[in-house]
């Protein structure tokens, strides 16, 4: 009986990959542990091994095929003896003594919808017809950091696996090769220590970029981010500036449960002395990381793992900077204002599309910066639409939506035709089970429902 070998998911967020190379051919006998193929994910090239014994009867997907969806049958094994049962494959990074990042165990993720189309990015600051390049947010962040490192010798990147491993999420791919080990520095897994060290280096005149493998791990370092980086300028009467960037993926990835899925936007946005940005598109990722590195203050750059692989148009101009503190109207509309940031913008845009089909014209505001927040843009929109729904993956209590609602109440109370509605992550630690995780995170239907409630429909 033939056993199907399926395209494996090799990271929590992988939905498809390239079958780079077959290491076996039809007719070969394989046993458990034999490496059968190399598969390229968006983060790495991985080997995968046979779990069952048998003879390769058929190769279904030729090598070199790109965009093979997870769980697609890629080969068949003819079992020897007892009929084979289910098939699984195990992945191993080739010849790497390092384990995969803790946030990214090689577990089978739920197949997801194919990645969205490149997001059109209308930047009001750029003239129409500005040339653009299509790239992923991952590449945009890397290009932004690299440009700034070419420009300023004081800028360096430090963090776990940023150098030889090329980045746990491959953000710093190629940077060690370009800038060398003095400026692209692998740290021990000691967030408290290396964050303090980075802040000290900033006090000493350097401009560090500190990468957290995820912001969940920055909780060990939050003392230095807040007590040392954010407050010292004030406590020194203006003497001790701290030009430093703290960046990394924030919020939920996929199926990594409560300790690896938290959104920290509200935590950092709470603190005077910090700036907080959260790009939703590759263009903003590039423009904001560059602005963050140039800023003379501590800046938190909240990235999103699910967005890393998404493509978008990035202005192909020299020194593309996005000013910190300016929101962007991602979709103009007149009936209701949706305000969000990071991946929430994509949820809001999807909801706006669904609403358009029902004749509701939603305006979507991408905050881009959480602190300082571009309240003016939000207020101007609400004065036009008279209704507002906020969207975030973090918890609602004391969240960004709560802050936006308060500001609208303070500055545009008389313009509201309905109370501001908040769509947020459910008030629970993130569950692991696929169905529960989906319930915990804001879905398009939740946003559509909230919009209808503020429209009394």
């Amino acid at each position: 009986m033939a056993t199907q070998i399926l395209m494996p998911a090799l990271s929590p967020t992988m939905t498809e990959g390239k079958l780079a190379k077959w290491l076996i051919k039809e007719g070969d006998t394989v046993k458990a542990g034999d490496v059968m193929a190399e598969i390229e994910t968006d983060k790495a090239t991985m080997e995968f091994e046979a779990v069952d014994e048998g003879v390769v009867s058929k190769i279904l997907v030729p090598e070199g095929t790109e965009g093979v969806a997870v769980n697609t049958p890629i080969a068949e094994l003819e079992g020897e003896g007892a009929p084979a049962k289910t098939t699984a494959v195990e992945a191993q990074a080739p010849a790497a003594p390092v384990t995969p990042p803790p946030a990214a165990p090689a577990v089978a993720a739920q197949p997801k919808a194919a990645p969205a189309q490149p997001v059109a990015h209308a930047d009001p600051e750029l003239p129409a017809g500005t040339p653009t390049k299509t790239m992923t947010m991952r590449e945009a962040l890397r290009d932004g950091m690299s440009e700034e490192m070419r420009r300023d010798q004081k800028v360096f990147l430090m963090g776990e696996e940023v150098a030889e491993y090329q980045g746990a999420y491959k953000i710093s791919q190629g940077m060690l090769q370009e800038f060398g080990p003095k400026r692209v520095i692998d740290t021990p897994i000691t967030e408290y220590g290396f964050t303090g060290l980075g802040v000290g280096a900033a006090f000493g005149g350097l401009k560090p970029i500190v990468e957290f493998m995820t912001f969940n791990f920055a909780m060990q370092a939050i003392d230095h981010i807040i007590n040392s980086a954010a407050k010292t300028l004030y406590m020194s009467g203006g003497q001790m500036g701290c030009p430093i960037v703290f960046r990394g993926p924030n919020g939920a990835a996929a199926r990594v449960a409560a300790q690896h899925s938290q959104c920290y936007a509200a935590w950092y946005a709470h603190v005077p002395g910090l700036k907080v940005v959260a790009p939703a598109t590759p263009a903003d990722a590039k423009g904001l990381i560059k602005a963050a590195i140039r800023d003379m203050n501590p800046v938190i750059v909240l990235e999103n793992e699910i967005l890393y692989g998404r493509h978008g148009e990035v202005p192909d101009v020299e020194d593309y900077l996005v000013p910190i503190g300016k929101a962007r109207i991602a979709r103009p509309g007149k009936d209701v204002t949706l305000v969000s940031f990071s991946i929430g913008v994509h949820h809001a845009l999807a909801a706006a599309d669904a609403l358009a089909a029902e004749g509701i014209d939603a305006e979507v505001i991408d905050l881009r910066s959480i602190r300082p927040m571009d309240t003016d843009t939000v207020i101007a929109s609400v004065m036009k639409t008279n209704r507002c729904v906020t969207v975030e993956e973090g918890w609602a209590t004391c969240g960004i939506g709560a802050e936006i609602a308060a500001r609208i109440m303070e500055q545009a109370f008389d313009y509201l035709d309905a109370p501001v509605a908040r769509v947020a992550g459910k008030d629970v630690p993130m569950p692991y089970a696929a169905n529960l995780e989906k319930l915990a995170l804001p879905q398009t239907a939740d946003i559509v429902g909230a919009v209808k409630s503020v429209l009394y429909r």
């Binding site: 290396f194 303090g196 980075g198 802040v199 350097l206 230095h224 300028l233 004030y234 009467g237 203006g238």
Partner: protein, 333 residues
């Protein structure tokens, strides 16, 4: 100039000017701290106020190894360090009273003062936080290819913090020029070292990381000076970090509100009588006839005047303008 002949190596020599300077610098710290205690009692200084009385030889001795391009960072028991770095006593005292003339314009207080000009990087209020910060200063010194060294001070209490060991690891791994100065004053607030530390020989705390360490009599300014020069040379020659454990003693409570009931009066009095760092130097100056009694009196007068002037300034300097509430939150582009 009178010179004591070297006993066994050159370092143990000293000049009378040098010793007189140590006497003056230590006396300045002591008189300053006594005055700060007095102003605190009068309600002119608020909040927490941690006095350095008894520990003066540590920072004064180590500053003898300080060169242009070096950096100093410490905890919240920082007044002595600032004075030893050459910061203006007026600016320090006015910060204690929360006035516009203070080093932080009155916005930092006792625990949070800085002077880029004098390479003093704080003044940090979170126990142990200055250790990775100081390690980062050393990182910058090395990154910029200077021969600067960072003097990173912390206490026996901080020495049990996890971030200290995270710092040790990176400092040795990357051979950073940092002297970890553990000021073992024997009490972490009210807890004697043996009650909080499984291993009380703090100079050995770097062993797991391959960082050498040395115990030093922190009440003897010349011993401290020698250890500091040796440690700075170690760092400047690219050998990486080094640990000095300065065995010292704080005469006052942990802060102004600490009655220090966790130790006996006898213990304190014995330290004062037998090990006082200022008396030791004074006796040396007199017994070896390095200076005249008049010279010492002149120093006493000078120090007294400086301290009185700083106290006057700290009381007459105005409170910060209300507009200062909203400044220095972010560096404006």
């Amino acid at each position: 100039m009178a010179k004591k002949p070297a006993a066994d190596k050159a370092r143990q020599s000293y000049t009378s000017e040098e010793v007189l300077k140590y006497y003056r610098d230590m006396l300045l710290i002591r008189r300053f701290e006594e005055k700060a205690g007095q102003l605190y009692g009068m309600g002119l200084i608020g909040g927490f106020c941690h006095l350095y009385i008894g520990q003066e030889a540590v920072v004064v001795g180590l500053q003898a190894a300080f060169k242009q391009g070096d950096a100093v960072i410490t905890s919240y028991r920082d007044h002595g360090h600032m004075l030893a770095c050459g910061m203006d006593p007026r600016g320090v005292m006015a910060e204690l009273t929360g006035r516009a003339g203070g080093y932080s314009k009155g916005k930092g207080g006792s625990m949070h003062m800085f002077s880029r000009e004098k390479a003093f990087y704080g003044g940090h209020g979170i126990v142990g936080a200055q250790v990775p910060l100081g390690t980062g200063l050393a990182f910058a010194q090395k990154y910029n290819d200077t021969d600067g060294v960072t003097f990173c001070y912390f206490g026996d209490g901080s020495a049990n913090q996890g971030q200290v060991y995270e710092s040790f690891n990176m400092a040795e791994l990357w051979k950073l020029p940092v002297i970890y100065v553990i000021e073992n004053n024997q009490y972490a607030m009210g807890t004697a070292v043996a009650r909080a530390s499984a291993v009380t020989e703090f100079h050995r705390r770097g062993e797991s990381f391959g960082i050498p360490g040395k115990p030093v009599d922190g009440m003897n300014v010349l011993a401290v000076r020698d250890a500091g020069l040796e440690a700075a040379e170690w760092c400047r020659s690219g050998k990486g970090p080094i640990i000095l454990e300065l065995k010292t003693y704080r005469y006052r409570g942990h802060s102004m509100s600490d009655p220090a009931k966790y130790r006996s009066k006898d213990e304190v009095n014995k330290m004062k009588a037998e090990h006082d760092p200022i008396d030791q130097v004074k006796n040396l100056l007199i017994n070896e006839k390095l200076v005249s009694e008049d010279q010492l009196k002149e120093v006493d007068r000078e120090v007294k005047a400086i301290v009185q002037d700083s106290a006057d300034f700290a009381q007459t300097s105005p409170e910060p303008d209300p507009s200062e509430l909203w400044t220095d939150i972010l560096v404006e582009a």
